[in-house]
Protein backbone atom coordinates (compact mmCIF):
# COMPACT_ATOMS: atom_id res chain seq x y z
CA UNK A 1 0.00 0.00 0.00
CA UNK A 2 1.28 3.44 -0.81
CA UNK A 3 1.99 5.62 2.15
CA UNK A 4 -0.28 8.26 0.68
CA UNK A 5 -3.20 5.81 0.80
CA UNK A 6 -2.61 5.14 4.47
CA UNK A 7 -2.60 8.83 5.21
CA UNK A 8 -6.01 9.17 3.62
CA UNK A 9 -7.78 6.65 5.86
CA UNK A 10 -11.03 8.02 7.17
CA UNK A 11 -11.41 8.91 10.83
CA UNK A 12 -14.13 6.22 10.97
CA UNK A 13 -11.46 3.65 10.20
CA UNK A 14 -9.24 5.07 12.94
CA UNK A 15 -12.13 4.85 15.43
CA UNK A 16 -12.57 1.23 14.34
CA UNK A 17 -8.87 0.54 14.99
CA UNK A 18 -9.05 2.21 18.40
CA UNK A 19 -12.08 0.10 19.31
CA UNK A 20 -9.72 -2.90 19.06
CA UNK A 21 -7.33 -1.53 21.73
CA UNK A 22 -8.11 -2.97 25.17
CA UNK A 23 -7.99 -0.92 28.37
CA UNK A 24 -4.78 -2.03 30.13
CA UNK A 25 -6.45 -2.62 33.50
CA UNK A 26 -9.89 -3.86 32.43
CA UNK A 27 -9.00 -5.60 29.16
CA UNK A 28 -12.60 -6.62 28.51
CA UNK A 29 -13.26 -2.96 27.69
CA UNK A 30 -11.85 -1.20 24.65
CA UNK A 31 -10.63 2.38 24.85
CA UNK A 32 -13.70 3.49 22.90
CA UNK A 33 -15.99 1.57 25.31
CA UNK A 34 -14.32 3.44 28.16
CA UNK A 35 -15.00 6.78 26.50
CA UNK A 36 -11.50 8.20 26.91
CA UNK A 37 -10.98 8.90 23.18
CA UNK A 38 -12.55 12.31 22.71
CA UNK A 39 -11.62 13.17 19.14
CA UNK A 40 -9.87 11.86 16.05
CA UNK A 41 -8.96 14.29 13.28
CA UNK A 42 -6.44 15.04 10.57
CA UNK A 43 -4.31 18.14 10.94
CA UNK A 44 -2.74 18.42 7.46
CA UNK A 45 -0.85 15.13 7.25
CA UNK A 46 -0.80 14.48 11.00
CA UNK A 47 -3.35 12.29 12.73
CA UNK A 48 -4.39 13.91 16.01
CA UNK A 49 -6.01 11.75 18.70
CA UNK A 50 -7.41 13.52 21.74
CA UNK A 51 -7.47 11.53 24.98
CA UNK A 52 -8.92 12.43 28.37
CA UNK A 53 -7.78 10.80 31.64
CA UNK A 54 -10.31 8.90 33.76
CA UNK A 55 -8.66 9.90 37.04
CA UNK A 56 -5.80 12.41 37.28
CA UNK A 57 -3.51 9.90 38.95
CA UNK A 58 -4.59 6.81 37.05
CA UNK A 59 -1.34 4.94 36.31
CA UNK A 60 -2.94 3.42 33.21
CA UNK A 61 -2.98 6.79 31.44
CA UNK A 62 0.62 6.50 30.24
CA UNK A 63 0.05 2.91 29.14
CA UNK A 64 -3.12 3.91 27.28
CA UNK A 65 -1.19 6.53 25.32
CA UNK A 66 1.53 4.02 24.50
CA UNK A 67 -1.05 1.42 23.39
CA UNK A 68 -2.78 3.95 21.12
CA UNK A 69 0.52 4.87 19.53
CA UNK A 70 1.57 1.23 19.09
CA UNK A 71 -1.76 0.30 17.51
CA UNK A 72 -1.91 3.20 15.09
CA UNK A 73 1.72 2.80 14.04
CA UNK A 74 1.11 -0.89 13.38
CA UNK A 75 -1.79 0.16 11.14
CA UNK A 76 0.60 2.31 9.12
CA UNK A 77 0.09 5.76 10.62
CA UNK A 78 3.47 7.46 10.51
CA UNK A 79 2.63 10.99 11.57
CA UNK A 80 0.76 10.94 14.87
CA UNK A 81 0.13 13.36 17.71
CA UNK A 82 -1.65 12.60 21.01
CA UNK A 83 -3.26 15.48 22.85
CA UNK A 84 -4.57 15.48 26.41
CA UNK A 85 -7.87 17.20 27.10
CA UNK A 86 -9.17 17.73 30.63
CA UNK A 87 -12.44 19.43 29.88
CA UNK A 88 -15.17 18.32 29.86
CA UNK A 89 -14.02 15.95 32.60
CA UNK A 90 -14.49 12.23 32.00
CA UNK A 91 -17.64 10.71 33.44
CA UNK A 92 -18.84 7.13 33.70
CA UNK A 93 -21.81 8.25 31.58
CA UNK A 94 -19.41 7.99 28.63
CA UNK A 95 -19.05 4.24 29.07
CA UNK A 96 -20.72 2.70 26.03
CA UNK A 97 -23.84 0.56 26.44
CA UNK A 98 -21.88 -2.44 25.15
CA UNK A 99 -19.11 -1.57 27.59
CA UNK A 100 -21.50 -1.74 30.54
CA UNK A 101 -22.68 -5.21 29.48
CA UNK A 102 -19.10 -6.38 28.95
CA UNK A 103 -18.25 -5.21 32.46
CA UNK A 104 -21.13 -7.17 33.97
CA UNK A 105 -20.19 -10.34 32.10
CA UNK A 106 -16.60 -9.86 33.27
CA UNK A 107 -17.72 -9.80 36.91
CA UNK A 108 -17.63 -6.04 37.53
CA UNK A 109 -20.90 -4.31 38.39
CA UNK A 110 -21.31 -1.35 35.99
CA UNK A 111 -21.83 2.16 37.43
CA UNK A 112 -25.31 3.16 38.54
CA UNK A 113 -27.19 4.31 35.44
CA UNK A 114 -27.40 8.08 35.21
CA UNK A 115 -27.47 8.27 31.43
CA UNK A 116 -29.80 10.88 30.02
CA UNK A 117 -29.22 13.18 32.96
CA UNK A 118 -27.89 16.59 31.98
CA UNK A 119 -25.68 16.91 34.99
CA UNK A 120 -23.76 13.69 35.42
CA UNK A 121 -21.80 15.11 38.32
CA UNK A 122 -24.84 15.82 40.45
CA UNK A 123 -26.21 12.39 39.68
CA UNK A 124 -22.92 10.80 40.62
CA UNK A 125 -22.94 12.67 43.88
CA UNK A 126 -26.47 11.56 44.64
CA UNK A 127 -25.56 7.95 43.88
CA UNK A 128 -22.48 8.26 46.07
CA UNK A 129 -24.32 9.76 48.99
CA UNK A 130 -27.04 7.16 48.62
CA UNK A 131 -24.26 4.58 48.63
CA UNK A 132 -23.80 5.21 52.32
CA UNK A 133 -27.35 4.04 52.84
CA UNK A 134 -29.34 2.38 50.11
CA UNK A 135 -27.71 2.38 46.68
CA UNK A 136 -28.49 -1.07 45.29
CA UNK A 137 -25.67 -2.65 43.30
CA UNK A 138 -26.70 -5.99 41.82
CA UNK A 139 -24.20 -8.83 42.06
CA UNK A 140 -22.69 -9.34 38.58
CA UNK A 141 -22.44 -13.09 39.21
CA UNK A 142 -25.80 -14.19 40.61
CA UNK A 143 -27.84 -11.02 40.04
CA UNK A 144 -28.90 -10.75 43.70
CA UNK A 145 -29.55 -7.23 44.94
CA UNK A 146 -28.64 -8.27 48.48
CA UNK A 147 -25.10 -6.83 48.46
CA UNK A 148 -22.95 -4.66 50.71
CA UNK A 149 -20.09 -2.24 50.26
CA UNK A 150 -16.79 -3.32 51.83
CA UNK A 151 -14.64 -0.36 50.80
CA UNK A 152 -14.99 2.79 48.73
CA UNK A 153 -11.83 1.85 46.85
CA UNK A 154 -11.22 -1.37 44.94
CA UNK A 155 -8.36 -2.76 42.90
CA UNK A 156 -8.15 0.41 40.78
CA UNK A 157 -9.14 4.05 41.46
CA UNK A 158 -12.31 3.65 39.39
CA UNK A 159 -13.75 0.77 41.42
CA UNK A 160 -15.19 0.06 44.86
CA UNK A 161 -15.17 -3.29 46.66
CA UNK A 162 -18.52 -5.02 47.30
CA UNK A 163 -19.69 -8.39 48.60
CA UNK A 164 -22.78 -10.37 47.66
CA UNK A 165 -24.73 -11.60 50.66
CA UNK A 166 -26.50 -14.23 48.53
CA UNK A 167 -23.65 -16.02 46.75
CA UNK A 168 -21.03 -14.68 49.20
CA UNK A 169 -18.67 -13.69 46.37
CA UNK A 170 -16.73 -10.42 46.55
CA UNK A 171 -16.91 -8.25 43.44
CA UNK A 172 -15.84 -4.86 42.08
CA UNK A 173 -18.29 -2.06 41.42
CA UNK A 174 -17.32 0.50 38.76
CA UNK A 175 -18.07 3.74 40.60
CA UNK A 176 -20.12 6.62 39.31
CA UNK A 177 -17.79 9.47 38.50
Amino acid sequence: MLRGDVMRVSTDTVWQWLSEVPDPEIPVLSLTDLGVIRDVRWDEGTLVVTVTPTYTGCPATAVINLDIETKLRSCGIADLRLEQKLSPAWTTNWLSVEGREKLREYGIAPPAETRGQEDGETQARVARLAGLKNLVVACPRCGSRNTEKISQFGSTPCKAAYRCRACLEPFDYFKCH
Binding site: G57, P59, P88, L132, F153
Partner: protein
Protein backbone atom coordinates in the same frame (compact mmCIF):
# COMPACT_ATOMS: atom_id res chain seq x y z
CA UNK B 1 -9.00 45.88 37.80
CA UNK B 2 -6.00 43.57 37.98
CA UNK B 3 -5.26 41.79 34.71
CA UNK B 4 -4.06 38.22 34.41
CA UNK B 5 -0.93 39.42 32.60
CA UNK B 6 0.00 41.45 35.70
CA UNK B 7 -0.36 38.34 37.85
CA UNK B 8 1.95 36.44 35.53
CA UNK B 9 4.55 39.23 35.34
CA UNK B 10 4.63 39.62 39.12
CA UNK B 11 4.90 35.83 39.73
CA UNK B 12 1.65 35.92 41.71
CA UNK B 13 -0.08 33.33 39.57
CA UNK B 14 3.03 31.12 39.74
CA UNK B 15 3.17 31.38 43.55
CA UNK B 16 -0.52 30.60 43.84
CA UNK B 17 -0.22 27.55 41.56
CA UNK B 18 2.71 26.26 43.65
CA UNK B 19 0.49 26.45 46.74
CA UNK B 20 -2.06 24.22 45.04
CA UNK B 21 0.46 21.81 43.50
CA UNK B 22 2.77 21.54 46.50
CA UNK B 23 -0.07 20.90 48.96
CA UNK B 24 -1.38 18.07 46.75
CA UNK B 25 2.12 16.67 46.18
CA UNK B 26 3.26 16.71 49.81
CA UNK B 27 -0.01 15.30 51.14
CA UNK B 28 0.03 12.70 48.36
CA UNK B 29 3.56 11.65 49.33
CA UNK B 30 2.65 11.47 53.01
CA UNK B 31 -0.36 9.28 52.27
CA UNK B 32 1.74 7.04 50.00
CA UNK B 33 4.00 6.30 52.99
CA UNK B 34 1.19 4.04 54.22
CA UNK B 35 1.44 1.73 51.24
CA UNK B 36 1.87 -1.77 52.65
CA UNK B 37 1.39 -0.63 56.27
CA UNK B 38 -2.34 0.13 56.67
CA UNK B 39 -4.39 -1.69 59.32
CA UNK B 40 -6.49 -3.64 56.80
CA UNK B 41 -6.09 -4.43 53.11
CA UNK B 42 -9.06 -2.31 51.99
CA UNK B 43 -7.62 0.74 53.74
CA UNK B 44 -4.20 0.09 52.27
CA UNK B 45 -5.74 0.13 48.80
CA UNK B 46 -7.86 3.19 49.58
CA UNK B 47 -4.86 5.15 50.87
CA UNK B 48 -2.77 4.22 47.83
CA UNK B 49 -5.57 5.29 45.50
CA UNK B 50 -6.03 8.61 47.28
CA UNK B 51 -2.28 9.23 47.14
CA UNK B 52 -2.40 8.56 43.39
CA UNK B 53 -5.24 11.02 42.90
CA UNK B 54 -3.36 13.70 44.84
CA UNK B 55 -0.12 13.16 42.96
CA UNK B 56 -2.08 13.29 39.69
CA UNK B 57 -3.60 16.61 40.75
CA UNK B 58 -0.14 17.89 41.72
CA UNK B 59 1.08 17.11 38.19
CA UNK B 60 -1.68 19.25 36.68
CA UNK B 61 -1.02 22.23 38.98
CA UNK B 62 2.79 22.04 38.81
CA UNK B 63 2.76 21.50 35.05
CA UNK B 64 0.79 24.71 34.68
CA UNK B 65 3.02 26.50 37.22
CA UNK B 66 6.06 25.59 35.11
CA UNK B 67 4.41 27.03 31.99
CA UNK B 68 3.52 30.26 33.79
CA UNK B 69 7.02 30.60 35.23
CA UNK B 70 8.40 30.11 31.71
CA UNK B 71 11.93 29.15 32.72
CA UNK B 72 11.92 25.72 31.18
CA UNK B 73 10.91 23.88 34.35
CA UNK B 74 8.18 21.26 34.19
CA UNK B 75 6.32 19.24 36.83
CA UNK B 76 9.33 16.98 37.44
CA UNK B 77 11.86 19.79 37.96
CA UNK B 78 9.46 21.55 40.33
CA UNK B 79 8.77 18.40 42.32
CA UNK B 80 12.27 16.99 42.54
CA UNK B 81 14.75 19.85 42.17
CA UNK B 82 13.53 22.39 44.72
CA UNK B 83 14.48 22.50 48.38
CA UNK B 84 12.20 22.96 51.38
CA UNK B 85 12.17 26.78 51.37
CA UNK B 86 10.86 26.77 47.79
CA UNK B 87 7.81 24.67 48.69
CA UNK B 88 4.48 26.41 49.22
CA UNK B 89 2.30 23.71 50.78
CA UNK B 90 0.26 24.30 53.92
CA UNK B 91 2.01 23.03 57.07
CA UNK B 92 -0.85 20.62 57.76
CA UNK B 93 0.01 18.58 54.64
CA UNK B 94 3.57 17.86 55.78
CA UNK B 95 2.70 16.78 59.32
CA UNK B 96 3.86 13.19 59.98
CA UNK B 97 1.32 10.39 59.59
CA UNK B 98 1.28 9.34 63.23
CA UNK B 99 -1.28 6.59 63.75
CA UNK B 100 -4.12 5.77 61.35
CA UNK B 101 -6.42 8.16 63.23
CA UNK B 102 -4.06 11.09 62.81
CA UNK B 103 -3.60 10.36 59.11
CA UNK B 104 -7.35 10.20 58.68
CA UNK B 105 -8.01 13.41 60.62
CA UNK B 106 -5.38 15.30 58.57
CA UNK B 107 -7.02 13.98 55.42
CA UNK B 108 -10.50 15.00 56.56
CA UNK B 109 -9.49 18.57 57.50
CA UNK B 110 -7.78 19.02 54.13
CA UNK B 111 -10.48 17.22 52.09
CA UNK B 112 -13.19 19.51 53.48
CA UNK B 113 -11.08 22.58 52.63
CA UNK B 114 -10.12 21.32 49.15
CA UNK B 115 -13.75 20.49 48.42
CA UNK B 116 -14.80 24.07 49.20
CA UNK B 117 -11.83 25.59 47.37
CA UNK B 118 -12.18 23.51 44.20
CA UNK B 119 -15.93 24.15 44.06
CA UNK B 120 -15.23 27.88 44.08
CA UNK B 121 -12.45 27.53 41.49
CA UNK B 122 -14.81 25.93 38.97
CA UNK B 123 -15.95 29.44 38.07
CA UNK B 124 -12.44 30.91 37.90
CA UNK B 125 -11.93 33.49 35.14
CA UNK B 126 -8.86 31.45 34.19
CA UNK B 127 -10.05 28.56 32.03
CA UNK B 128 -7.13 26.29 32.86
CA UNK B 129 -7.68 26.68 36.61
CA UNK B 130 -11.40 25.99 36.16
CA UNK B 131 -10.68 22.82 34.13
CA UNK B 132 -8.29 21.43 36.73
CA UNK B 133 -10.75 22.31 39.50
CA UNK B 134 -13.59 20.39 37.84
CA UNK B 135 -11.38 17.34 37.30
CA UNK B 136 -9.78 17.38 40.76
CA UNK B 137 -13.07 18.32 42.41
CA UNK B 138 -14.70 15.06 41.36
CA UNK B 139 -11.94 13.12 43.07
CA UNK B 140 -11.84 15.23 46.21
CA UNK B 141 -15.61 14.94 46.70
CA UNK B 142 -15.11 11.21 46.87
CA UNK B 143 -12.17 11.55 49.26
CA UNK B 144 -14.29 13.72 51.54
CA UNK B 145 -17.14 11.20 51.54
CA UNK B 146 -14.71 8.55 52.70
CA UNK B 147 -12.77 10.56 55.27
CA UNK B 148 -15.88 12.06 56.89
CA UNK B 149 -17.50 8.62 57.07
CA UNK B 150 -14.43 7.13 58.78
CA UNK B 151 -13.97 10.07 61.18
CA UNK B 152 -17.55 9.49 62.33
CA UNK B 153 -17.17 5.73 62.61
CA UNK B 154 -13.91 5.91 64.56
CA UNK B 155 -14.82 8.96 66.63
CA UNK B 156 -18.10 7.35 67.63
CA UNK B 157 -16.50 3.91 67.82
CA UNK B 158 -14.71 2.18 70.67
CA UNK B 159 -13.22 3.97 73.65
CA UNK B 160 -9.76 3.51 72.14
CA UNK B 161 -10.67 4.73 68.65
CA UNK B 162 -12.47 7.75 70.16
CA UNK B 163 -9.45 8.60 72.28
CA UNK B 164 -7.15 8.45 69.27
CA UNK B 165 -9.41 10.55 67.04
CA UNK B 166 -9.76 13.22 69.73
CA UNK B 167 -5.97 13.26 70.25
CA UNK B 168 -5.49 13.63 66.48
CA UNK B 169 -7.96 16.50 66.30
CA UNK B 170 -6.33 18.30 69.25
CA UNK B 171 -2.86 17.88 67.73
CA UNK B 172 -3.79 18.99 64.20
CA UNK B 173 -6.30 21.75 64.91
CA UNK B 174 -3.61 24.48 65.29
CA UNK B 175 -2.60 23.78 61.67
CA UNK B 176 -6.11 24.24 60.21
CA UNK B 177 -6.19 28.04 60.30
CA UNK B 178 -3.41 28.45 57.74
CA UNK B 179 -5.69 27.08 55.01
CA UNK B 180 -7.89 30.15 55.38
CA UNK B 181 -5.22 32.80 55.79
CA UNK B 182 -5.00 35.39 53.03
CA UNK B 183 -2.00 37.44 51.94
CA UNK B 184 -1.21 39.71 48.99
CA UNK B 185 -1.09 36.73 46.60
CA UNK B 186 -4.61 35.64 47.54
CA UNK B 187 -5.96 39.16 47.45
CA UNK B 188 -4.59 39.80 43.98
CA UNK B 189 -5.95 36.48 42.70
CA UNK B 190 -9.36 37.29 44.17
CA UNK B 191 -9.35 40.81 42.76
CA UNK B 192 -8.69 39.41 39.28
CA UNK B 193 -11.54 36.90 39.65
CA UNK B 194 -9.18 33.94 39.40
CA UNK B 195 -9.64 32.47 42.87
CA UNK B 196 -11.70 33.02 46.01
CA UNK B 197 -10.23 34.82 49.00
CA UNK B 198 -9.49 31.84 51.32
CA UNK B 199 -11.19 33.63 54.22
CA UNK B 200 -14.54 33.31 52.45
CA UNK B 201 -14.23 29.50 52.56
CA UNK B 202 -14.08 29.34 56.34
CA UNK B 203 -17.80 29.51 57.25
CA UNK B 204 -18.73 26.64 54.92
CA UNK B 205 -15.79 24.57 56.15
CA UNK B 206 -16.69 25.26 59.79
CA UNK B 207 -20.18 23.99 59.09
CA UNK B 208 -18.96 20.80 57.37
CA UNK B 209 -16.39 19.83 59.99
CA UNK B 210 -18.63 20.93 62.87
CA UNK B 211 -21.41 18.61 61.73
CA UNK B 212 -19.02 15.68 61.29
CA UNK B 213 -17.40 16.23 64.71
CA UNK B 214 -20.83 16.34 66.30
CA UNK B 215 -21.80 13.02 64.76
CA UNK B 216 -18.37 11.64 65.66
CA UNK B 217 -18.85 12.73 69.31
CA UNK B 218 -15.57 14.66 69.10
CA UNK B 219 -14.97 17.97 70.85
CA UNK B 220 -13.84 20.73 68.51
CA UNK B 221 -10.97 22.73 70.07
CA UNK B 222 -11.89 26.34 70.87
CA UNK B 223 -8.53 28.01 70.23
CA UNK B 224 -8.11 29.97 67.01
CA UNK B 225 -4.33 29.91 67.22
CA UNK B 226 -2.85 28.94 63.85
CA UNK B 227 0.67 27.92 62.87
CA UNK B 228 1.56 29.67 59.61
CA UNK B 229 4.48 29.90 57.22
CA UNK B 230 4.14 26.98 54.82
CA UNK B 231 2.52 29.13 52.12
CA UNK B 232 5.53 31.44 52.09
CA UNK B 233 8.22 28.77 52.43
CA UNK B 234 8.77 28.64 56.21
CA UNK B 235 8.21 24.99 57.02
CA UNK B 236 8.31 22.67 59.99
CA UNK B 237 11.35 20.37 60.30
CA UNK B 238 9.28 17.52 58.89
CA UNK B 239 9.35 18.76 55.29
CA UNK B 240 13.12 18.38 54.91
CA UNK B 241 12.95 14.75 56.04
CA UNK B 242 10.07 14.08 53.67
CA UNK B 243 11.94 15.62 50.72
CA UNK B 244 15.12 13.68 51.46
CA UNK B 245 13.14 10.53 50.77
CA UNK B 246 10.90 11.82 47.98
CA UNK B 247 13.80 13.42 46.11
CA UNK B 248 16.43 10.78 46.91
CA UNK B 249 16.92 9.58 43.35
CA UNK B 250 17.46 13.04 41.87
CA UNK B 251 19.73 14.05 44.75
CA UNK B 252 21.88 10.93 44.47
CA UNK B 253 21.87 10.71 40.68
CA UNK B 254 21.25 14.21 39.29
CA UNK B 255 19.58 14.15 35.89
CA UNK B 256 18.70 10.46 36.09
CA UNK B 257 15.85 9.61 33.73
CA UNK B 258 13.52 6.61 33.78
Amino acid sequence: MIQESDLIASDILYEWLLRRGDTALILGHRVSEWCGHAPVLEEDIALANIALDLIGQARLWLGYAGEVEDKGRGENELAFLRDAWDFRNVLLAEQPNGDFGKTLMRQFLIDAWQDALLSALKTSANERIAEIAVKAGKEVTYHLDRSSDLVIRLGDGTQESHRRMQAALDALWPYAGEMFSADAVDEAMAAAGLAPNPQTLRPGWDETVGEVFKQATLTQPQSDFAHKGGLTGRHSEHLGHLLSEMQFLQRAYPGAAW
